[in-house]
Amino acid sequence: MIKIKNLHARVEEKEILKGINLEIKPGEVHAIMGPNGSGKSTLSNVIAGREDYKVTGGSIDFEGADLLDLDPEERAHKGIFLSFQYPIEIPGVTVSNFIKTAINETRKGRGEEPMDAREMLSKMREKSALLEMDKSYLSRSLNEGFSGGEKKRNEIFQMAMLEPKLAILDETDSGLDIDALRIVANGVNKLRNANNAVLVITHYQRLLDHIEPDFVHVLYNGKIVKSGDKNLAIELEAKGYDWIKEENV
């Protein structure tokens, strides 16, 4: 689905990604862990196409297309979704209006007709029920005054509505209480199928208890320095990052 080869990227004058290689196939779940500041969010922003991150080398292929050629919205239309580590607020724009616009603009981008209003409504009901969200969320301003956990749940609600091919969850677990973590993870699992994939960025094993990864990667200092199966995450939880840092001095 996505093939990242020797990807280098910088912000302002600082090189942050220093040769990332990663391939994700349909149906797979990959987890990326790594110390603060190692470049995890940078990688997700680069995949999503954020302008202030300059790609200085390497390539990203998404289902045969050169992703680096596309605008962020075109990438979204192709099915890339980023659950933001820090979702932003848009005052005065309701969650329902925002998601309706997102869905219809995405459809337009794909040359499809807008979604029928009734279908839209029932889909919103279904997905908010899946994530056990109170109906009142839908008429609140996007993320305005939302608690940290509410914002994250709202990201996954949008993911559920947009049904992306590749979902990148950047620390979606942080800020969620124990019940919310289970609900959100459960929501993500329900959306999984053989044709889509998930890239989970997290610091903690507990999310991976719910969303079981096929592969776990450690990102350190702009590079993937270790990959393994789910047991790697368990090992990291027990041992921390020091041993990895030592291996990579």
């Binding site: 999503a48 919205e73 724009v93 616009t101 997102a102 869905i103 603009e105 301003s141």
Partner: protein, 478 residues
């Protein structure tokens, strides 16, 4: 955000720029007593009206153009303006069939089909083309309730006692330079009277249109809501694309008697000048309302047009427990300049006012909020809440806030909040990531930002205003 996008988005041309070909009866440019006598004579006005105008003219001659506002422009040459222009057709019209088809076509182009408006929204319209009303609808329904809704000229002829009693009581002739000028030369406008205890059954609406090259437009509107009555009044306008500056100096007076409520909504979209700032309408308006006991006046405005705007819809809260509200969205783009705001003058006890002002600046424009909250010595327990927000697009525009507070009573409670924000890259990227293009994202964010004001507008008007916001900001990212 790159400059190309910025240019692309700001470059939406004035979509309503076209000129209607209607024969007009225009007076030669210039201003002196004779011109005023002629205007008055052409309109068959009674002697008292002429005297009133001449008195205003004398006052005006001694006044100076105001310089305090935060706008710069080439001062109009008052001798180069023609002060009277009426479409050739003279007789009053009872139905649309009698209206000049060219005119109807103009309204079609604007998407304002009278028939549709009449049928769908139950709106009665008094259309002002240049200076004379040419069509008035729904008169009968209104007549049955005793509501008077007609052109100012007609009101002077048919309801002189009402006009004489109220004209100039809220905005006196000597109030300011442009009010004095308007008092001397106003050609037409709307008049409305709602009798005691009557709830006006429909939104009253006037579409203004400046249509004669070089003709200044001096509208005069007087709206009187008698005790315990209610009326919602809509004012909207668009103007043809023009190369020279056109002066517009209107006066609007609202009288809300005991327990009456007036809702006055404006969507203003006059020609703002081209992308280089050439041409465009100068809009110097005096709007003010007076509230007696338990009365309420709400001003809601969405301002997207004009090259230079100078406008402060205000409320004098004279009666105890009266309420004044001001909800405003002012958009400036390219080289537009706007200096708008409100004055809330609290005189009565327990008076309350709310000010919500949302400024949006793009391009090289300047957008100023200027507000005065005055609490008089006898206004026990007066309360005001003001919220003035500015949204900037790009870094070549400016937003300025000038809140003035004068409290002469220690029991006053005044709250003022102000914010300045930019449409952030973060917000745009978030929208982009969800598949929303930058242009749509801006429309979405701006509409969200203006929501508190747009919500105050009647439904059909809110939709129109939203469209207008999108058009005037097409292409303005920064």
């Amino acid at each position: 955000m790159s400059d190309e996008i910025l240019d692309e988005v700001t470059a939406s041309e004035y979509k309503y720029g076209f000129v209607t070909d209607i024969e007009s009866d225009t007076v030669a440019p210039g201003l002196n007593e004779d011109v005023i006598r002629m205007i008055s004579a052409k309109k068959n006005e009674p002697a008292w009206m002429l005297e009133w105008r001449l008195d205003a003219f004398k006052i005006w001659l001694d006044m100076k153009e105001p310089e305090w506002s935060n706008v710069t422009y080439k001062k109009p040459d008052f001798q180069a303006i023609s002060y009277y222009s009426a479409p050739k057709q003279k007789k009053t019209l009872d139905s649309l069939d009698d209206v000049d088809p060219e005119l109807l076509k103009t309204f079609e182009k604007l998407g304002i089909s009278l028939n549709e408006q009449k049928r769908l929204s139950g709106v009665a319209m008094d259309i002002v083309v240049d200076s004379v009303s040419v069509a008035t609808t729904f008169k009968k329904t209104l007549g049955e309730k005793g509501i008077i809704f007609c052109s100012m000229s007609e009101a002077i002829a048919e309801h002189p006692e009402l006009v004489k009693k109220h004209i100039g009581t809220v905005v006196p002739k000597r109030d300011n330079f442009y009010a004095a000028l308007n008092s001397a030369v106003f050609t037409d406008g709307s008049f409305c009277y709602i009798p005691k205890g009557v709830r006006c059954p429909m939104e009253l609406s006037t579409y203004f249109r400046i249509n004669e090259s070089g003709t200044g437009q001096f509208e005069r509107t007087l709206l009187v809501a008698d005790e315990g009555s209610f009326v919602s009044y809509l004012e909207g306008c668009t103007a043809p694309s023009r190369d020279e500056n056109q002066l517009h100096a209107a006066v609007v007076e609202l009288v809300a008697m005991d327990g009456a409520e007036i809702k006055y909504s404006t969507v203003q979209n006059w020609y703002p000048g081209d992308a280089q700032g050439k041409g465009g309408v100068f809009n110097f308006v005096t709007k003010r309302g007076i509230c007696e006991r338990n009365a309420k006046i709400s001003w809601t405005q969405v301002e997207t047009g004009s090259a230079v705007t100078w406008k402060y819809p205000s409320c004098i809260l004279k009666g105890d427990n009266s309420v004044g509200e001001f909800y405003s969205v002012a958009v400036t783009n390219n080289y537009q300049q706007a200096d708008t705001g409100t004055k809330m003058i609290h005189l009565g006890k327990n008076t309350k006012s709310t000010i919500i002002s949302k400024g949006i600046s793009a391009g090289h424009s300047h957008n100023s909020y200027r507000g005065l909250v005055r609490i008089g010595a006898r206004a026990e327990n007066a309360r005001n809440f003001s919220q003035c927000d500015s949204l900037l697009m790009g870094d070549q525009c400016g937003a300025h806030t000038f809140p003035y507070i004068e409290a002469q009573n220690p029991t006053a409670q005044i709250e003022h909040e102000a914010t300045t924000s930019k449409i952030g890259e973060d917000q745009l990227f978030y929208c982009n990531q969800r598949g929303i293009q930058t242009e749509q994202a801006i429309a979405l964010i701006v509409n969200g930002y203006c929501k508190d004001v747009l919500n105050q507008l009647p439904m059909e008007f809110a939709v129109e205003a939203q469209k207008l916001l999108e058009i005037s900001l097409e292409g303005s990212v920064g």
